[in-house]
Structure formats: C-alpha cells, structure tokens
Symmetry: none
Subunit: 225 residues, 2 copies
DNA sequence: TGCCGGTTTCAGCGGGGCCTCAGCTTGCCC
DNA sequence: GGGCAAGCTGAGGCCCCGCTGAAACCGGCA
C-alpha cells in the first residue's frame, strides 16, 4: 500500500509520513508540485495526499493534469482556505475528497483508509463546458437541452478536445489518441471529423466553440463557445 | 432516486429537501431517530442523509443498527461537532461519508451524488428502469404488469445491461461477464441475444429500450425506454 | 430413442460510417 | 499583390458492423 504525500511544509510532511507509516502504509514524498507530478506519473500509488498550496505547480493543477492523463488514483486534497467554493473546486477538478486545515490526524487517517478501500471512485462521468455536455459512459452529447447524436469516432475526438479544453491540441495528438498508433493516413481525417463536429454542435447554434489555430491545431473553448 | 433525510432542525431539513429536489431526487424526511429508522427499514432509498444529533436515537445508533440488519444503503452523516473523534467514529460505525456543519451546499450535493452513484452497484434485489422490472433472484422480468419470460442467458445479458443502464456496454464486456472468460465464439452471439431480448421486451410494446451504438456496443435506457 | 427448449453457429445482406480524394478557400509571408 | 501552404468542403466508394432467419448442437426428460 504505497501512498504519495505532496506537501511543501517539511514539518507537516514528516508528521504525515510518520503517522501514515504507523498505519502500515509505505510513504513517498514530494515537496513541490512538479516533482509530485513526476512521482505520481511514474509510480503506482494506492492514494495521493495533496496540498493545494504548492510551489511550482498547485495541487489543483497537479490533480487536473493527472485526470486528463487518465490517472484516477484516489486523491485527498488538503486546503488551507475554508471558503466554500474551494472545496467544490477540488471535487470538480477530480479530487475524491478534501480536508480543510487545520485537520485532525485521526480524521485524515480515516479518510485515507476510506479512499484506499473504495479504490478511487469518482471519475466524473459528465464533462460540462458551458452548455455543452458530454457523457463518455453513454456516448451522449447535448447542447443545452438538445440531444446531439454523435458517432463513436466523432465522440472520441470531441471528448479528447473537451478533456483538454482551453488548450491547443495538435492534429497528430488527436490522431494518436483516437486512432491506432500505427495510423498514417494523414491529418485530413481530423479535419473531416472537426467539420462534422462543427456541423453538429456549432453551426446549428451559431457558436464557434472549436477554433482552429493555424499551424498548431484546434482549441475547444473552455466555456463551450 | 429516493433519498431519506433525517434531521431534527426543521429549517435545515427544509433547506436540504428543497435543494436535493432541485437536483432531481425525491425526498422523504424524518425529524427524529426512531421514525427515521422506521422509514429506512420500510423503504428503498438510494441514500440516506443523517444528522448525528437526533432526539430519540442518535445518528450513530441508527446507522449501526441498519448495518447490523444487513442494510447497506449509502449513508452521509452530518455532524455539528468538530471534535476530532466524531468523524472517524462515523466512518467506523458504517457511514459511507460525513460532513461537518456548517457545510457548503455545493459540497453536499456532490457528496450525495457520489454516494448514489456508487451505491447503485451494490446488490439491489430488484432492478427497476421505468416500467421494466428485473428480479435477479427469481430470474423474473416484467414490463409494466406483463410478465415476460426470459431464458437464463437472456436474463444474464439483460441484467448486465440493466446494472449499467445509461452506459454503453461493449459486446466483449458482455461476453466476459455472461460467458466463460475463455469464450471466443465471436461477438455474434451477443447480437443474437440482443435480438431475442428486443423481441420480448421492446417490439411488443413499441419501445426501443436497447439502443445499439455502432462501433461501441449497446445501451439500455435508464428509464427502460 | 425421440421430442423439446435452450444455446450456439453460420451465412447472407443491407446500410452506416469511416476514410479518401480532389478542388476550393483562407491566412501568411515575401 | 502574388504565391504557397494549411485548412475546408462535398461527394463517393468501400468495408465492416450489426441484423436476421435458419439450422445444428446439446442436455434433460418421458
């Protein structure tokens, strides 16, 4: 049972390490966001305890990055603020649970145990970008209240764009992720699918949610257009 | 999706009811522990939101009692104290999650949703999707008031679809779950059974509850069509 | 042994969607 | 403004996926 602790405060870090080790877990630690991300990527952990405030790369960023990459290791977020939306933000970003500092150690242990037991639960099953909704499990897509029917490939392309909404995604990235690795048919295919998608989710609604960045790729607006 | 709210503070109770109803849940409430326990025993709920401090019978007692009786309905505990042992106690006693007052509504909704999602997988004795009823123990199936007789394999396929209603299920998943892992006869078998099922539960009723998602698999409508 | 219901296999077919291609438009750089 | 490359577009063919009816297989039972 390996657990990754990402925490910049060295005192707290050692406290966590010690306590969790006493519970029988094996602990690895990182003191900043980037090395935390690197460790999380390289290793298999039963859970990750993650501070929100981190040098290099915030806990939010780290978490959402992992989720984008398809890593659903259970994450327990530690947040110093107690504003009410922070917590929801944490959950939105793909954390499975959160704890507000200062927290009790007993509670932390209980939460970690619970997370490990259920083994990572919450892959968010709907992606929402403004009024654009994607439900990967059902291959369902909706703009506002209208159901939009997409084919399997169309959906795959759109989902990939959605998971990286707000970022420019190159055609070759799309090809590699949606088609067989050994596909060489050329980038036109992507253009064709983009067109088909625009016809279904943009044109009828007067939107321009999929922008093309010449020479770079495509970008799906974070707010769905 | 019925949810039971057990809370003695009438203001909070109404607040919870209202909010959860807006999320599409059907709510029933109890103001004290004993009537809460009675309701929980009598009804089928997707989840229970349970205050710890209750007249008559504390939330802890209610929870552990239910668990003893073999009722594993997901429970979200609300605790007013922030003493450090309360929360851990709640988890130990068999609650699935807890929340410390005062809590944010956004968070509560997220938690309840997560609980409901998970809880559905457990082992409901009867599966109901709209007017489609499945009783795994009896291998019985009904559409509305009509009994529909299914063979063992037909039932197994339908049950698997039903447990994952609203999601796309691939043929190979169905094969792996219904037939021996070492079966290789090809996916056509599934098609044959799907056809047979459609003939029995859809065609006579003019429904289309089992949709085929070309290139992905099949999807049983969450509302039974 | 022969019937019977359930299960599995098989082959034909019809269509949907995946992919290609060629021509056109747009944006960028000299 | 001219020229070039990147991207857009419409149409079309082909292939594979899923559908279907029928027949073979298989075990239980009279």
């Amino acid at each position: 049972m390996r657990i990754l602790v990402v925490e910049d405060d060295s005192r707290l870090r050692e406290l966590l390490t010690e306590g969790l080790e006493q519970e029988g877990f094996t602990i690895e630690t990182a003191a900043d966001g980037l090395s935390g991300l690197a460790l999380a990527r390289s290793g298999e952990y039963a859970a990750i305890v993650l501070d929100v405030m981190l040098p290099g790369c915030s806990g939010y960023q780290l978490c959402s990055r992992l989720r984008e990459e398809g890593d659903w290791t259970p994450i327990l977020m530690l947040t110093a603020k107690d504003g009410e939306y922070d917590e929801a933000d944490g959950l939105d970003v793909g954390a499975d649970d959160y704890l507000t500092k200062p927290f009790s150690f007993v509670v932390l242990i209980a939460r970690v145990r619970a997370l490990v037991r259920r083994g990572g639960l919450d892959r968010p099953e709907v992606l929402e970008l403004g009024d654009l909704r994607l439900e990967p499990a059902a291959l369902a897509c909706a703009r506002g209240t209208d159901e939009v029917t997409l084919t399997a490939k169309e959906f795959a392309v759109l989902e990939y764009l959605a998971r990286r909404a707000g970022q420019v995604v190159s055609k070759s990235e799309i090809v590699q992720s949606v088609w067989d690795a050994a596909y060489d048919g050329g980038a036109n295919l992507v253009e064709v699918y983009i067109r088909s998608l625009r016809r279904k989710i943009d044109v009828p609604y007067g939107r321009r949610s999929i922008r093309t960045i010449r020479g770079a790729g495509y970008l799906l607006a974070r707010d769905g257009g």
